[in-house]
Symmetry: none
Subunit: 218 residues, 4 copies
């Protein structure tokens, strides 16, 4: 959370803004931060707008100046954070190095982002893994579209590796992307639940070896 409040300019440029506008942006961030903490802890339906307003130390009316309604607030929260995550993951797989290195980088960044944004990870897993009924109009679809678009890009890393002979054709590239993503999620889930018993591995190959090395003895 601290990082969220402090972290400036995430997607929203604060360059040439009046004091007023900068203040409004800061207030918005405060509200989203309070909302994130609460939603993440108790879930969408168990958090009231009053609660969020109180946590953000604003009047309820002020909350409604920034967000049309509860759903709108929630969507803004999830989408803005999702964008940050997507950007970081894309940077990882578009970074330098061969396909192998890209995968390592992705696994590493995934861990870092999550370690630093635990509240959002809880929310995000709830949104993408759990059947989420909260989001009547579109967020669900929008999030899933984003995830899918990313998985396609990840699939292309596998595909490219297969084409240049670095990877074997053990499965459909998209299936591999889905599989890698879900395995990482599983490790993250274990870590979220009990960080001490199941730490997220520092070395990405601990996870990747499941894919790299064959299980069956030849």
């Amino acid at each position: 959370m601290a990082c969220l409040r402090a972290g400036g300019g995430q997607g929203l440029k604060t360059g040439n803004l009046s004091r007023r506008e900068r203040e409004r942006l800061w207030q918005r961030k405060e509200m989203l931060a309070a909302a994130l903490a609460l939603f993440s802890e108790k879930g969408y339906h168990n958090v009231s707008m009053q609660e969020i307003a109180a946590a953000a130390e604003f009047a309820i009316g002020t909350l409604y100046k920034f967000f049309q309604n509860k759903e709108d607030l929630y969507k803004a929260l999830v989408l803005e954070q999702a964008d940050r995550f997507e950007a970081a993951f894309l940077a990882a797989i578009k970074g330098p190095g061969d396909e192998l290195e890209k995968l390592r980088s992705f696994v590493r960044v995934r861990g870092e982002m999550c370690r630093n944004n635990l509240p959002f990870v809880r929310l995000f897993l709830a949104e993408t893994k759990g059947a989420s009924y909260n989001l009547k109009a579109g967020l669900d679809a929008e999030i899933r579209r984003k995830v899918d678009a990313f998985l396609e890009k990840l699939a292309r890393v596998f595909e490219s590796g297969m084409k240049n002979g670095r990877f074997q054709k053990i499965a459909d590239p998209y299936a591999l992307a889905v599989a890698l993503d879900s395995v990482i999620d599983a490790f993250l889930l274990l870590w979220v639940e009990s960080p001490e018993r199941h730490p997220y591995p520092e070395d990405p190959d601990v996870i990747l070896n499941i894919f790299f090395k064959g299980l069956i003895n030849p």
Copy 2:
């Protein structure tokens, strides 16, 4: 769903019971079936007790004779179904054949159970993957304990395969169990969302090859 209503003896013995008791059990099952259908379709918070009572064709008061409150009803629903699933999965990995065959059997049964119980799968994925906030007291923990117990047993399949040389030691057996489970879940999730675009594979090796064959070209 029909199977749920009709399906006798799932965990609850109906052997030597009075007519009264048998009727009560049948009523209870009706209620849970109606609740499952509604929760699965709309989510815990978007289903009212009135709605469940109406769907089950009982008075609201009768519902409360069987379940102390909404949460209690939900817990009973999830736990009883989870038991059925757990039993089926355990049977799969305790069945005949070597470790490889056990894994294949598990992947197959996982698919079958889910295909036949889509409403519950939706609910279950929401509960186990998504951070589930519904269940303030204990269900969460109880479910996760069950899942973990099963994962330990699955891990022991990998371990045994490693010991007798059938499997390579590519990773920690528990990690492998988690990974396999999550990959299957990922495929199920894809299937739940769009059964036509992403059918759950008939041949378990489509999934298992991700583990069996190494990705990296030697």
Copy 3:
């Protein structure tokens, strides 16, 4: 008000009903009576559902069992009363006697109904005379349609009188109907505001003479 509570079977038959149903009807009437008193005194927007519930001595939730929402309650109130009034007025102009007697009867019944239902008259004048913005969907239209339909019937009394030579053709029959209605309303309005200074005349001819006798000296 007393008359409203006491007045049984006004349009709603209470003949072959179970005790339950009779009680529900009585409760509904209590609610409408409380609502009428409040709306009539303070206006639609200045009365809260809590207030109505308290006045009717029911819980707020019970109010909503009977009426979907505030507007629904208001519409039911206005329409049911309007029907009573319409019926009484129609009876007056369909009663025995020639056209002249019909008009006298109408003026008389108008006065009686209003004297006995002052709260509703206030509401009704507000609805039909004032531009009423309360009634988003349809009540406005429905009320005006009713009023217009009645005015047409009243016009036909004038028309018939003209045809059989009892009346002179001093103006368009519909215009005469509108004029008579509005003159009665004006007298009622004066009476509503200060019953002592401006009593509604016992003798209908006090009002009707405005129409019967010509003002200009020949």
Copy 4:
């Protein structure tokens, strides 16, 4: 509306005022014009101060510099317009000609004023005919006092006509004034609702004949 904004000197003299004061008067007029348009269209309770401020292109705070609160603004609006109307009606019945011509003139001016100030007419009818609950403190009384004062003056026209033998004594002069006023209102109401089906008559005698000629055939 244009006439309202442009129309100078309506009751408020702008003669020897500083630029400041003239500007304030102009601003006030802008605000009242915006408020009139909105109130007339949507009704007192369905218009927010924010809305009025926005329509008048002032800050909400500025609105409150001119009017203590919403009710105050509304009262000012209604009273100032009512004064304009009263003045015009008084001029009509004080104008040249005998009693008959005064009545004709009144009917004519009534039509003109209303045709040119439809938004206010809607509001005014709502205020004077409908039981108006908006105006808790005094406006109601003040308006009605004005109306009554005018009706007394109109009554004196009838009275004078009776004294000099031009009119017959068919009814109490005040009752006749009330009746004429209400009949005109009724025609205006019809016109407001559907200007095409019920045009306000060009010839005042169409309305006045109801009074002038006796209905009953002698």
